[in-house]
Symmetry: D2
Subunit: 339 residues, 4 copies
């Protein structure tokens, strides 16, 4: 069975497994107060050119979004997000469970624009409505598109003007930073956002998201918020070990670039075979349109998600990862060719 | 530096590391819907003699307590727990964050008695007070004591009579099941509790708590509750692989027994040296009383937690684990002998 | 200054003030456990032909929506509502504060249709998304439109088929039941909904919303939920006295009909003067379109809300009430005529 | 039937009813943005000698405690209160429903001492425990005792030193300010607390608690928090009208003094008859001990609450109010004499 379902279908990359094995029996303090987390945080501050940033390590994506956003907001404050945003749809109301409304703005390409944010902020003008306070973006987005540096810069300026926090969900940040024509660096996110995550789960770690806080107003007592959310890992060292292993060695961007390269090979192959794409996505998620008959045959040989079904056909999602091989791609293309 | 701070100071036992390495590149579905989790759940149902139980795998202890209790209760329902309970003190208000009051009952030995529960239930008699609905116990308790089978049976009968759910936090369940004179089995917990956990983090896994639901009223939509709490691990397979590795092989109880044996060696040594214990604990947590001068010297050579300071002296906590060696124990005793 | 801002601009109707004064010094038990609340509840059960319904009295609209919906749902369950719904926009995220997502469906006329509900329910198919569980409608709606009996019957059938609760916010229920061609009765709401409110605040009471629960699954411990939300009035008698005064005497529907009649007089006058309506509303809220110049002059002599501004002009909202007089209406029309 | 159950058994005092009747038909803006609320707030700022204080009007006691404390705290922050505190016991977990733990400290007389607060703050020293942030006191307390000015001053100094907010629940503030030997003024509460309430419900209003915020850090967006909690009354004017009627005229303290005087008459009579008191309470709540036989006979002729039953006897609670007459007191004493 071919596997293009997601980028977290397998365990960890070699660097991660080796580092975990090597450090396995060294005793450390718990809860991320160990030397490995300290080293990884220092590595991240260096990459981000943000020597005073706070860095926290959490296990998963929903957990980090829920913990961070819940910690940042007052009860009546709300989040602005694209309607396709992960927190809007696929986190089972985790943000609302903490008490916060999400103002979901329409966005066919998964990206927010400053004028949308401005209009939403202006509409919410009195105490009978929630108070927008944080803008959530994800890069890459949930439909595989990528914010460019000018786009992020404009969003950041808009947020600062309006007194809104800018939070970037970087579950696939590596992919965003290594697509063809990518123009953003860790330091850009640190400079433009109040907080952002560097995703590990979808880029070769067993698990883990690093949360970088650059706005000092968000620093106080953040670990209290983590603990209350069940988001401090007892053996927190596992997060430090993994992140340091991939970030210091450069493996983080290399693995992401590999996933993008595999996606590009697949994308070209699909276009050559005449398939159309529902979204023009340059990153490691592709959204080709199949006929229902094609899709029914494909599912016999390949695992993937179905994004939607409509009059255009069945939109499936193929995701490549650090573990995808050229052979996997070519075999998938061969299967699609025969249909 | 000697390390008796806790039972999660090191990585994972050999069985776990091997199993993770062996399965590393096998692609699976995400979120615990894979074959490894299915196998581990089946193993647990077998050990519990509970063929219809639901088994869920979560990453950490606070997370599983918060998710389970939050899912089980209506908004105005409350938890009854010993004042020493982990959820009362050391989870930063995680249960309250989900909206639920904990009625903390005094208990010098960390255990609850039926008559206390009955009195608390009777006191809460109208809509101006919370409605007690769930009794939280931990085994072993936070002060190292152990509920016997007759004690658990009496608690269970009391809860059923009063319409209360019985939930057992088994973060150290292996230790409770393997102390000298232990009389409880997995099947007992399954039979007597509505839900309980089998702790992995403190017994040789990298991380992980297995939650066993035996009361069918608690089954519907539990995975929705998990996801909303950020408590479904993307690579959920890691939990299945680890639990199956230790439970099927019997390593789970063997590792716990080892920790208890090391604690027993330490306990006898401490008593031989004339140290008194603040609590009479038969499991892998010991609470000897030192003088302030002794404690100041010991901290130079050994890592541990300080439980409390009062007129009796400094009560320290020594925790043994699957990774503690006889040499570690003897070296600690040697240090204490010289003081 | 003319006053068409809302239907809660003045105190109470004569029946209410008299009843409060007459009963003022009679001592009663607190918290709505008094004889006046019992009588009012019995009156409501009679009007609703629902002898086993639970009736609760709360102070305000946001409070009753928040308390009821919060009590009915499990943490991961969600509400389906029209995007114009009061709970979506004008309750400052009160539903989300209790932890629940609202799935806001587009609706130009403020009403939901069964097919929308069905599609939303089908889209939310797994544990990564919230579980729709309650459909919120308001009658009259926030844009003054009215659900007919066939429409409500179809919604009810759809909800029952899909296992969804149907909740009707009746803040302006009196208006809905007395518009030209109205075809719904108290008994219809009791039969078709799982719970609904009979609004007092906007129909001549000082304050008060009666909540009628007809689905017995919603009965247990509802007063616990009320108390926890701060929604049990100490002198609960005030609610019973007021509701019984207007419901038993028939004043409730008479006052509502008066408000509708005044609105109809105003509507005809507006149309005669050539004004267009942004929404075709038969009830006591009217949404005429003015030019910016007209609106600027009108605000000198009349209080009202501005609904929106766009290329069609300034959409203002005129609301009539039990206290509106023909003279008020004619004076407003005279002012508008001169513009 | 005699009525000593509580101080909210009847409607409103004459001043309040008259003011409501007189202003009944004056149209105003909704939600407490009217001229009556503005006037009452100004009156309160004057009485408090706090010209920059924010004043908000809410309907009930649980509602104001829940709204204020919920608005003031971050998610992981906790409240310190006496175990007898209203929020600990009789608000059905309303504070916890907003996510906050209450640290309940033992207090036989219902009062907190600085050393208790200091010890609790010191115990909560890291991110594994909640962060104490607000001290809740009530004056009079739930057992009828009264904080003196030196006591409040010491509490205030302790809180400021420790970075804790001081919040005083003044549901019976009038009684506290008018007991024999009372030494506190409105201005004292404004000076010593960060926020406090002036209770109306238990002192002659139909309903209403005025919340005074003096710490400017608590000002921003407080009305958003109120609205989200369903705590902005649509006809907010009713609150302004009532508070201004009793505060400007001096009726507020006069009514409270009357209740205290009636209690004093009752207290002396009880002691003369040989009854003992469970608590030495100088205010309008008395807690005499009856024998079970006495209590059974008394309940035939008088309504009251039972506080507790133990080996000392049945502790009942008699509450006097603005509406209690000398005849009521004497008749109760006559009944008790015959027993």
């Amino acid at each position: 069975m071919l596997y293009f379902r997601n980028d977290y279908s397998q365990g960890a990359c070699r660097e991660v497994l080796d580092a975990l094995t090597e450090t396995n029996l060294i005793p450390t303090a718990g809860y991320g107060t160990d030397q490995f987390c300290a080293a990884a945080a220092e590595t991240i501050r260096g990459l981000c050119e943000a020597p005073s940033a706070q860095v926290h390590f959490l296990v998963g994506g929903t957990q980090v979004n829920k913990t961070a956003i819940g910690a940042f907001l007052r009860p009546y404050e709300a989040v602005i997000a694209a309607a396709t945003g992960h927190i809007c749809v696929h986190e089972t109301g985790a943000i609302e469970q903490n008490g916060h409304k999400i103002l979901a703005l329409p966005s066919p390409d998964g990206k927010l624009r400053p004028q949308q944010i401005r209009a939403a902020a202006e509409r919410h003008c009195d105490e009978h409505m929630v108070l927008p306070r944080l803008v959530y973006v994800s890069n890459t987005t949930e439909v595989g598109t990528v914010y460019s540096l000018p786009e992020l810069t404009a969003l950041s300026a808009c947020c600062r003007e309006l007194g809104l926090l800018l939070y970037c969900d970087g579950a696939r940040l590596g992919s965003a930073m290594t697509v063809e024509g990518a123009d953003t660096s860790f330091a850009d996110y640190a400079r433009l956002c109040d907080a952002f995550t560097i995703g590990g789960t979808k880029n070769g770690l067993l698990f883990g998201e690093a949360l970088v806080l650059t706005n000092p107003a968000l620093f106080p007592h953040f670990r209290h918020a983590m603990k209350q959310q069940g988001a401090i890992l007892a053996k927190g060292r596992l997060l430090g070990v993994q992140f340091d292993a991939v970030l210091r060695s450069g493996a983080y961007l290399r693995l992401a670039r590999h996933a993008n390269t595999m996606a590009e090979r697949l994308r070209r192959g699909l276009l050559d075979l005449g398939y159309r794409m529902a979204v023009d996505s340059p990153s490691n998620q592709l959204f080709p349109l199949l006929t229902p008959a094609q899709e029914e045959r494909l599912r016999e040989v390949c695992a993937y998600e179905i994004q939607s079904r409509d009059e255009r056909g069945v939109c499936v999602r193929f995701v490549t990862s650090w573990a995808t091989t050229e052979e996997d791609v070519d075999e998938l293309l061969n299967n699609l060719k025969e249909m």
